[in-house]
Symmetry: C2
Subunit: 238 residues, 2 copies
DNA sequence: CGCGGGGTTGAACATTCTCAAGAACTGTGG
DNA sequence: CCACAGTTCTTGAGAATGTTCAACCCCGCG
């Protein structure tokens, strides 16, 4: 028969976006008119990365804003004594590189692809020109920055004042999509090792605490990364 | 006699700045021309606070940027379980309120004066108008934000990966003004209690660790808040 | 069916906190 | 200038919390 393609091989885990689509989805650009977007697209370049490649590393000078088009990127830092901490995972539509972009300075973190990825990027000079021409973009970036700053400070406070119990519980609850309900099924996006790095603990402790939660009837583990939260209110009280 | 004022009472601990001086010193405005500064000053208001007064508190809606003119302000958060963490101390020239200023949102932290203080403030609408008229101000704020974001993430990493030893040592070194030397005398700006809150530990632990440092010959305590760092390189190695 | 990598469990150990008591400092009023 | 009261800081001992390291388990895959 004519269309006998059987089971097209899944190459990309996420549906591919056109670059324009990708860039226009980024919160900092999504309010622009089509004409303005044209202008933005003129200075956007793109590149693909294999799994595990480094996009930038600490101490490199920064002159580029990166936008994840397809794939996943992890941002991590090394502490003064050399231990790694996962700062954030970027998924399509997220951007990075901004920290060192607005002042002459070097990166303080590492960006590395977790899977094959496509990344759009904009050069510093081009971006600054856009910002001066369309001040509303700056306002959007300021908005995004202030959100991140809140998150970062909240995270710091959480590390400073909560014990591991609580941090893990809070993280589980953050993973919930639906609002309102007291139950939910979630799928952890990270391995125990990465999760431990993100939460400032060890894989062993995470295992133990999850078991503990299960014994208390707060969660129901279903395989390594899936679980059902049975009592969200109670989880927040730990 | 005519001018017989003896010993004018010292009301202000820091030398008072004119408001204009104050605002013009803030990094985000200090590049403006005198004419532009005039425009800024038109929308700046001012207010004085007694020691211990609250400037804003979490969950209040935010519509004002505050600039410290004279005095000291502490910014702190309450964790989900109600414990207080000191986020930052503002001194003259520092600003706050920005977090919730660029998106419609409420404060997530508390701002409280540590001593009698004078605060300049700018209303949200006025600020936005200024930003749209002078896009370079946005760039300055972005610069400042990116610096703070770095600091916040660094702080988070430090909490996540270092033990109290190291965090205290790093803090001591941060207090040093002069660059280069391996020795320095510093004066802690915070009480043990506040320092503990800032570093995510307890006053008792700080006492003990400082004693420990002293026994190892790394520091020499001179009164409660003053000390001499004897071997900065070694402190960073802990 | 054996291999390998994540994940789990256990036991000893290290770190830090808590609570309580005592010491040192600060500021005030005599 | 000294004594006192109120803080703030230090020290001690025991308890709680997490980490480390090693062994084991589970499961997908060749």
């Amino acid at each position: 028969m004519a269309n006998s393609r059987k089971k097209e091989p899944e190459i990309t885990p996420q549906p591919p976006l056109s670059e324009r689509m990708c860039v226009s989805l980024v919160p900092i650009f999504n309010h622009l008119s089509p004409e303005q977007m044209d202008e933005v697209m003129e200075v956007v370049q793109h590149k693909t990365f294999k799994k595990g490649e480094t996009i930038y590393r600490a101490d490199e000078t920064s002159d580029t804003l990166y936008i994840v088009n397809r794939g996943q990127v992890k941002i991590y830092r090394l502490s003064d004594t050399g231990k790694e901490q996962l700062v954030r995972i970027l998924t399509p539509g997220d951007f990075t590189g901004e920290l060192a972009l607005f002042r002459q300075s070097v990166h303080e973190a590492y960006a590395e692809t977790l899977v094959d990825s496509a990344i759009c990027h904009i050069h510093r000079d081009d971006l600054q020109r856009l910002l001066l021409r369309y001040p509303t973009i700056s306002l959007k970036i300021l908005e995004e920055f202030s959100r991140r700053l809140d998150t970062a400070e909240k995270q710091t406070t959480s590390f400073a004042t909560e014990k591991v119990d609580t941090r893990i519980a809070l993280y589980l609850v953050e993973c919930v999509e639906e609002e309102g309900a007291n139950e939910a099924t979630i799928e952890l996006p990270l391995s125990r090792k990465d999760l431990a790095s993100y939460l400032g603990t060890t894989p062993e402790t995470i295992s133990r605490k999850l078991t503990e939660f299960e014994e208390k009837g707060l969660i129901l583990q279903q395989g390594q990364r899936k679980m059902k939260l049975l009592d969200i209110d109670e989880l927040l009280f730990i």
